[in-house]
């Protein structure tokens, strides 16, 4: 939808042309590979290497930021258009809900004994996906500006607010904080982070009944609002792309950002040396004195479609396994992600995600009905941040919107 995505898709095509992976022997003898997935450097690398396998009768990849809206329809047909979907822990749920991906146990037994167990995503005892990278949102900061005000990188959101106030009052930057606060999915994700950081739980135990209109919910909204007051007034229109652009323009000193996007901020493209040389990362921040960070852990992994022939499934499995094998790691691909692949050596840019893992950050909830709550959050939080209504009103709107949607989908009565 965004022009930047279109441009990036174009540059991806160019890049793919420039660095075509070497043809590889993956032990495939016929069968189809068709990948659907998000587009960022790490996934492009995986797809390119999977496509390079010899013996595939057909090797296609459709990598787009809108993958989520087309992967389900593209796998519901029989035979399915896509033989594999690259998903994350939130988006796999939609595919499992509709029963379009197959358990991988027998394929692993036959062809994948060497995949480390920790990469296998098992649900109810069945392997449904193979993860290849980890991701999390964490602190990104400008070392030079923090030095100027004599502050350490903040470990809590309260410290972040204090640092922002100092930066503003010293006249260094008018809007020192950044964040992907675009109304919709991004803003909802920030709520999920902050609410988990406050120790909140989204549902009444063991049910799909939402329960966020509580102290933690109010504190979460108030913290989001306090942070937004130090952001560019347009923050409700800033998604991850726009926030990264603000960072590269040197307008922001501190932000909570995706690990998978920090590499772009630290390279020499798109910004002044003053900015990229001083861009540094640290672990996710905590809030309100809690022990667990206000962030979520994510994995990205691949699945195999259910509605395809066993031959296609086997070819897809072997090709994707090659796509995440140690052979794909080189100087160019090493820093693209926190790979779960043997032979991966972390770069400084990946420290944020590693601290997120070691600090015991909560993984994003993998619940069949959570996508509905995420949508309801994204539709309603902006009303509070704009000062149109009270926190309690916003929270009760979210609960009501979720409940109506969950009733329609048969999750609650």
């Amino acid at each position: 939808m965004k022009l930047k995505n279109i441009l990036m898709a174009g540059s991806f095509l160019a890049a793919a042309g420039a660095t075509t992976a070497m043809a590889a022997d993956c032990g495939i003898d016929g069968g189809r590979l068709s990948i659907i997935g998000n587009e960022f450097p790490a996934i492009q690398t995986v797809a390119r290497n999977a496509q390079a396998c010899e013996g595939l009768s057909d090797a296609e990849a459709n990598l787009t930021a809108d993958h989520q809206t087309i992967n389900l329809p593209g796998m519901q047909g029989n035979p399915a258009e896509y033989t594999t979907a690259i998903v994350a822990n939130s988006s796999i749920v939609a595919l499992i809900n509709e029963d379009v991906i197959r358990p991988l146990d027998d394929l692993i037994a036959a062809h994948g004994q060497d995949i480390p167990t920790q990469q296998l995503i098992t649900i109810n005892g069945q392997v449904m996906a193979v993860a290849f990278m980890a991701n999390a949102q964490h602190l990104v900061y400008r070392a030079d500006i923090l030095e100027q005000i004599g502050a350490e990188p903040p470990k809590t959101y309260e410290e972040m607010l204090a640092a922002a106030e100092t930066i503003r009052s010293e006249g260094i930057l008018e809007y020192p904080l950044g964040g992907a606060y675009a109304a919709g999915w991004n803003l909802a994700q920030e709520f999920v982070n902050m609410y988990l950081g406050h120790g909140g739980s989204f549902y009444e135990p063991g049910t799909a009944q939402v329960s966020i209109n509580n102290e933690a919910g109010v504190a979460t909204l108030e913290m989001l609002k306090a942070l937004s007051e130090y952001m560019n007034p347009d923050f409700l229109t800033h998604d991850s792309n726009a926030t990264s652009a603000e960072w590269e323009a040197g307008n922001v000193a501190l932000m909570n950002m995706w690990g998978s996007r920090t590499g772009v901020l630290m390279d020499a493209e798109g910004s002044e040396p003053q900015v990229y040389e001083n861009t540094a990362v640290a672990g996710p921040m905590t809030v309100a004195g809690a022990g667990t960070p206000a962030s979520t852990l994510w994995w990205d992994g691949w699945t195999v479609a259910k509605n395809i022939s066993d031959e296609d499934a086997e070819a897809t499995f072997k090709a994707m396994k090659h796509g995440i094998s140690p052979a794909i790691l080189n100087d160019e691909t090493m820093g693209q992600a926190v790979w779960m692949i043997e032979g991966y050596t972390p770069a400084p840019v990946n420290e944020g995600v590693f601290s997120a893992i070691s600090m015991g950050t909560t993984p994003y909830p993998m619940l069949p009905h959570h996508g509905l709550l995420h949508t309801a959050l994204g539709d309603n939080i902006a009303d509070f941040l704009q000062g149109d209504e009270s926190a309690e009103q916003t929270l009760s709107d979210i609960e009501a919107a979720y409940t109506a949607a969950a009733r329609e989908k048969g999750f609650v009565n």
Binding site: M1, Q68, T69, L72, N89, S90, S91, V93, A94, I96, N97, D99, Q118, Q119, L120, I121, T122, I123, N124, G125, A131, A134, A183, G184, G206, A208, N232, P233, D234, F235, L236, T237, D239, L297, W299, M340, P363, P365, M366, L367, P368, H369, G371, L372, H374, T375, A382, D383, Q386, E389, A400, A401, A404, A405, R407, E408, K409, G410, F411, N413
Partner: protein
């Protein structure tokens, strides 16, 4: 035309309309009366790189059996139409009872997603449609009175906003009104307010969306009017001039009456288009400030869990809305043709 010939003549287009317009609408209506089966939830253990957690999942076998039995889902009648995310019948009544005065009622009503979307959609229709017609007419008259050699290039440039893909046109404007963009900076300077931001203010955002709406569809009205202007009888104009009519009087008493049927046509098309306003909201990232019915359908379908029935219900409500909106114009057209 003989009945037989007429039948064969319209058969291809009638078939296409049945297949691609009528049947899809019927299927949407049917979908909107059904909700998903009650989910059979089981407790599962999920394991991955970050350890194991106990979570829930849908029991696929049980669900498959339910679907086999009733492929459409559970029949729900008008339940979805009445729920909070659509017509919100209960919430509407509650709001009516609790609010003090009509102003308070409207403010509270705007908290319900359907009425919030309807509020913006109707405002957009009411503002953009007449302005599009007005600007289209003014431009057409202006271009028509320009020197003949200039008309070609003038028409091309006037049509540009309509040629540019709506998403791209919206993005161009979106960047220009950015706080650091050309228009954004100019507005700050003019208003003498360094914190003024179009994207952060609901009122300004609404104005921006409507300006975009007029900008992108005025060329359509222009080209229709321009074509109409070529058919104005020069004899009548000359007679008016001899009678001493001023330029304004010629337009008022000769041109406008001549172009009236075209106005009905443009109004019809524009009412329909504007009621389905969608692209500017996406390209302006404006969902925090303005939502429309079409946007609500898109939002239902683009989440991680697709809400087909909800989207279907909103679609049916949109069709009903368009029908209500068009009925005065249609009745008028029907009557005038009936007379002829």
């Amino acid at each position: 035309m003989k009945h037989n010939a007429f039948f064969w003549f319209v058969l291809p287009s009638a078939t296409a309309m049945m297949l691609f317009i009528f049947f899809p609408i019927v299927s949407v209506v049917i979908q909107s009366f059904h909700v998903a089966h009650e989910q059979v939830i089981i407790e599962v253990e999920n394991c991955g790189p970050f350890g194991c957690t106990t979570a829930t999942a849908i029991d696929q076998e049980a669900t498959a059996a339910l679907r086999e039995e009733q492929p459409l889902g559970r029949f729900a009648g008008l339940e979805i139409y009445k729920d909070r995310n659509h017509l919100a019948v209960n919430e509407f009544a509650q709001t009516w009872q609790q609010s003090e005065g009509i102003g308070d009622f409207v403010v509270r009503l705007m908290n319900l997603p359907f009425y919030k979307a309807l509020g913006f959609t109707l405002t957009y229709v009411a503002v953009v449609t007449p302005l599009t017609i007005l600007f289209g007419f003014i431009i057409a008259v202006a271009v028509n009175s320009a020197a003949r050699s200039l008309r070609g290039p003038l028409i091309f440039f006037t049509l540009l906003p309509n040629i540019v893909t709506p998403l791209i046109g919206g993005l161009i404007l979106f960047w220009m009104v950015d706080a650091r963009g050309v228009i954004g900076t100019a507005l700050r300077y003019l208003a003498d307010d360094p914190s003024l931001s179009v994207k952060a203010d609901t009122g300004l955002m609404w104005i921006m969306l409507m300006v975009y709406g007029v900008w992108s569809s005025a060329p359509f009205a222009f080209i229709v009017y321009y074509a109409g202007l070529q058919t104005v009888s020069t004899d009548t104009l000359e007679a008016a001039r001899i009678d001493g009519a001023s330029r304004w009087q010629q337009i008022r008493h000769v041109v406008i009456p001549h172009l009236l049927p075209l106005t009905t046509f443009i109004a019809l098309i524009q009412l329909m288009d504007n009621f389905r306003v969608f692209e500017p909201i996406i390209s302006f990232n404006a969902q925090a400030h303005a939502t429309s019915l079409s946007w609500a359908i898109y939002n239902d379908l683009s989440g991680e869990t697709q809400q087909l029935s909800s989207a279907a219900a909103t679609s049916v409500l949109t069709v009903i809305g368009v029908a209500i909106l068009l009925s005065p114009v249609l009745v008028r057209t029907y009557r005038s043709y009936g007379k002829a």
